[in-house]
């Protein structure tokens, strides 16, 4: 846990990336040399019909909504983490009730948000 503790993570990341890249290059070298190319083979996969690939796919707005709500709730949850590891210490030095109140208000807001999402059918996927 010294100040260079992150270095092993970087080393491992580089190792893994190299390993993956070598495998991909390796399969390219080891695979069969004579490759039959045809238009049908290189088409995007489709079940029997000719592919109808239009580029501007319209996707339900719910996916974006889910992602936005995820960001919000993720931030709220990440704020509980420092609180959670401090909580036991606070209980021991007597300020546990205060800490519980502080987080109670925050979680109350969280719950209001969650109830709003459910009631407004933003989370319904029908």
């Amino acid at each position: 846990m010294s100040s260079g503790a992150l270095l092993p993570v970087l080393i491992l990341a580089v190792m893994v990336l190299t390993f993956g890249a070598l495998l991909i290059v390796g399969t390219g070298l080891l695979g069969p040399r004579k490759v039959i190319k045809s238009a049908a083979k290189e088409m995007p996969y489709e079940c029997g019909l000719p592919g109808q690939e239009t580029k501007d796919t319209k996707v339900s707005v719910r996916f974006y909504l889910t992602a936005i709500l995820f960001i919000l709730f993720d931030i709220e949850i990440i704020f509980m983490y420092p609180w959670a590891i401090q909580y036991m210490d606070s209980l021991k030095d007597g300020s546990g009730g205060y800490m519980l109140g502080v987080m109670g208000v925050f979680v109350g807001l969280f719950v209001i948000g969650l109830i709003w999402e459910v009631k407004s059918k933003a989370l319904d996927w029908k």
Binding site: M1, K55, K58, Q86
Partner: protein, 178 residues
Amino acid sequence: MTLTAQDLLFYILGGLSLASALGVLLMTNPIYSALCLALTMVSLAGLYASMQAWFVAGVQLIVYAGAVMVLFVMVLMLFDLKSEIKAFSRGAVAGFMKLVAVGLMTGAFLAAIYNSADTLLGTSLAAHVDGTVSTKALAQLLFGKYVFAFEAMGVLLLIIAIGAVALSRIEGGTHADE
């Protein structure tokens, strides 16, 4: 001259964040720009961690790299703006606005560096900070001294949650028929 792990980390991560930040600007395809921005976030998280700010690094990784940038990439990939690669408009007004924005940004950065230079240059990094201990110290500040800011942020997040849902339910717009 000895190169410690700390220095090595700084050079690697600093170079990576600079290169990927440049990539955000220079890439013509918005998807690659967004991915470069994600890489910038990851290397910034690494820089925080190399300065012993373990929890901040984790938050940077979870919130920015793992949530905000995922939303960006998702939206860009699904709209697939190939025909709108020139989405960045050109023109006299737009150019002027860009210059103003860059000027403001530069000013803010210079001011931040100037104001914090005295405190930053004097302090040296502790050799060893335990992530749990420093996060507990952070918690005491956040839930003690800055508790009102913390609760206000809870209210802010609630407002955003309600606003996002309200916006998504507006009728009309370009895809109104679907």
